[in-house]
């Protein structure tokens, strides 16, 4: 359906592998060159590490740079480490400054220094090395083209023709004063449709949205989405322009953050790609299961306390999956809506009270309907009306608790500045599990004389 002409990636991959097996490097290069960078990277990723390392220096350095930029950062670093400094420097020369900085941060400091000594414009990369990956500064690239407010439109266009900057450098043309303070922005469109003699300061927009280099990268991405920005200027504490973030990186951050939330809600605290090594997977998942085991012991303890009741009325066990399980599902619904609302900024910690009221009301309605239904099922299936009453009441109480915990837990965790997607699911389901067993078996114990 997508009309990408001439590209059957799987077919190219087969041809590349067959050319590799014959050692025909020229053919491999000829097969890869016509592809777009993301497609080149898809083929490249499927090759053996040894072939990848042999292939990169044989491709034109611009293509190799594109491929390294497309790969997962760890993978790119793994390959870069194996290249000799000269070949690597030639490739890094063609990388975007932000991508080059990310790569150099991931290889050994020794090798990074050697590469910096070899590349032609190290000053574009070096300032980017000092920012954390999680900050706006860590996402930004250098601004290689900016305007002065007292230029005229035709001077600006001449300057543009001379410098011929990359596409992504001129989504917006940032205007700075003589001390590099960000003072305005002009679009290329405005430049093209304005009279040649007009001064830039007469057409520039001075109301520029910018972000501090130390701000969180997710905040940068949110600003860019909210205001539909193609590029977001990054400034230092003196409001000097130090870089800019482009929309493609913002895309990537939002997708990464969504994946991170999905993984954390699903109990995979350190989300990672699919083809990662088993020991790494175990390190990311096993601690979560171990923690789950610890919290499950709380439910186990409750069940153990009421062992006598269970022995006397084993019929009670049949409804465990309902008083704990179904209310756990209701809690997960509330939790999911709350966590996503917090992530998208739709729910504000300060205004959580109406949300809490709503969810407790929903818990009441859920409890009345599901609890009522369960009570009827219990009576029809097992007989004693008192069993129905106990199951129904326990379900109702636990549904209210589910609504409460599903809002309160993530909001408190957010206030503690921990990601609510990370810690909430286990706390909330532990609450509904333990409380469900406790209320259900507690009621049954109190009414045991009526039950058996």
């Amino acid at each position: 359906m997508a009309e990408i002409e001439n590209v059957n990636i799987d077919q190219v991959l087969e041809q590349v592998k067959s050319a590799l097996s014959e050692g025909d490097w020229d053919h491999v290069v000829a097969l890869l060159e016509p592809l777009r960078p993301p497609d080149q990277a898809t083929v490249f990723e499927d090759l053996d590490l040894k072939d990848q390392i042999d292939l990169l220096p044989r491709l034109p350095p611009r293509e190799s740079a594109d491929i390294l930029e497309e790969l997962e950062e760890q993978k790119a670093a793994e390959i870069a480490t194996q290249l000799d400094t000269q070949n690597l420097a030639k490739i890094v020369d063609y990388m975007e400054p932000d991508e080059a900085a990310d790569l150099l941060k991931d290889i050994s400091p020794d090798q990074a220094l050697q590469v910096l000594a070899e590349i032609s414009e190290p000053t574009e990369v070096i300032p980017l090395l000092s920012y954390s990956d999680e900050s706006a500064g860590g996402m930004m690239t250098s601004v290689e083209f900016d305007l002065q407010a007292d230029m005229t439109v035709d001077q600006a266009i001449d300057y543009l023709r001379t410098k011929s900057p990359d596409e992504e450098q001129i989504y917006y043309l940032f205007v700075v004063d003589s001390s590099d303070h960000l003072v305005g922005v002009v679009s290329l469109r405005q430049l093209v449709i304005s009279q040649p003699g007009t001064k830039i300061h007469d057409i520039m927009n001075t109301d520029v949205i910018s972000i501090a280099a130390g701000a969180d990268r997710e905040e940068a991405a949110r600003l860019m989405t909210r205001y539909d920005l193609l590029a977001l200027p990054v400034v230092d504490e003196n409001r000097c322009l130090v870089g800019m973030i482009t929309y493609d990186d913002s895309f990537d951050v939002l997708e990464d953050e969504a994946t991170e939330d999905i993984f954390r809600l699903g109990g995979v605290p350190e989300g990672a790609v699919t083809d990662i090594k088993i020991p790494v997977v175990m390190r990311s998942r096993l601690p979560w299961l171990a923690l789950n085991l610890v919290t499950a012991m709380a439910s186990a303890a409750v069940l153990s306390i009421f062992q006598g009741t269970i022995a006397r009325a084993a019929v009670l066990a049949a409804f465990f999956p309902i008083v704990a399980g179904v209310t756990g599902s209701a809690a997960t619904q509330t939790l999911t809506v709350t966590v996503r609302g917090l992530a998208l900024g739709q729910i504000n910690i300060a205004e959580a009270l109406p949300v809490l009221g709503r969810e407790i009301l929903i818990g009441l309605l859920n409890g009345l309907s599901i609890g009522g239904l369960v009570a009827v099922i219990a009576i029809l299936w097992k007989g004693p009306p008192i069993l129905g009453a106990i199951v129904g009441a326990a379900t109702l109480i636990n549904m209210l608790a589910a609504g409460f915990a599903g809002v309160v837990v993530p909001v408190i965790i957010e206030r503690l500045r921990i990601d609510p997607a990370l810690a909430s699911p286990i706390l909330v389901t532990t609450t509904t599990d333990t409380l469900g067993y406790f209320v259900y078996l507690g009621l049954a114990t109190a009414l045991i004389s009526l039950l058996v």
Copy 2:
């Protein structure tokens, strides 16, 4: 941290509300006008419906159009329905064609026809009305500015100055032949840096990525992310250019799709915004809980079958949260990674076998470690080694099942062309729950003479 000057939205909201209470409309308009559209919409959203309807016609129509574009589609339609046709048409005139079409699709056909009769360029909107919201055609806007291949660069720039199209119309300049077939693309940058007399066909890129109008909107968004496109041309079956999708809409679709997946994985099948009405919430969540109740009955039946065993050895109940619950968490981990991998295109149905192998191996390792640990806990806590052996073995077997079901269920569902995020969680946890109880209590029943 985010440096948005002069904007304290909460403060503006307070001022707007106080001006409204005094009926001072001029002041309300003066407060709103300097804000950026997303901020105007944030303030506007917090007003009463009656005030919203009174306010819109008093704002300049361009501002009203921006606000309607920013609102949730249902909310915008609710307000539009209450405006009289003339006022609404004035506003729609300033909306982007795609936004106007979305709005007209959501109001009554009568009112939509009346608005179409009043607006100045109905032909830009009408063709957009025929596409489904879920298709690329439903996401696209009209192309109001395109080039012919035989123009020269200076003719193109003159044409651009004359037409003075909006920013988003010229992210890329699409080139068509005399029958409107899409034949190439030029960037504004290329136009500006090229020699004036150069023909467009000498500088255009003929290798344009496009999408069919009937393709899925998520596919359009994926293409735009993969190839970092600012705009994606949409073509009909004859490869004629019928519209284009801009990156801001692609942002929104990806965020919507991520939210949809998160909600579905969390058991909220019809994801919705936070401030939706309670009856709507119940309609979206209650059926899911009812379905959960039905599947929980499978576990209930297993527990009921083994009621005799539970009565004889009530100690068994203490480990229910582990043999069913903790393995359920392991299944959720596998499921989450599989579902997200399918959504991002990292996992391919045809190549699911290695993923399955990996996850079963992980299940084995999880089972050996968690199962072993549980066996030790059971023996230390409750005494009989045979209990430890039963608990440990059941955990191990169920961990293997968790790895199996966590991959096989979503892959089968994806092949059935249903969203795996929607149907998988309940099927997978039902499997691990029911199987967990069955294996555990089955083993215990077989070995009951050793246990009591």
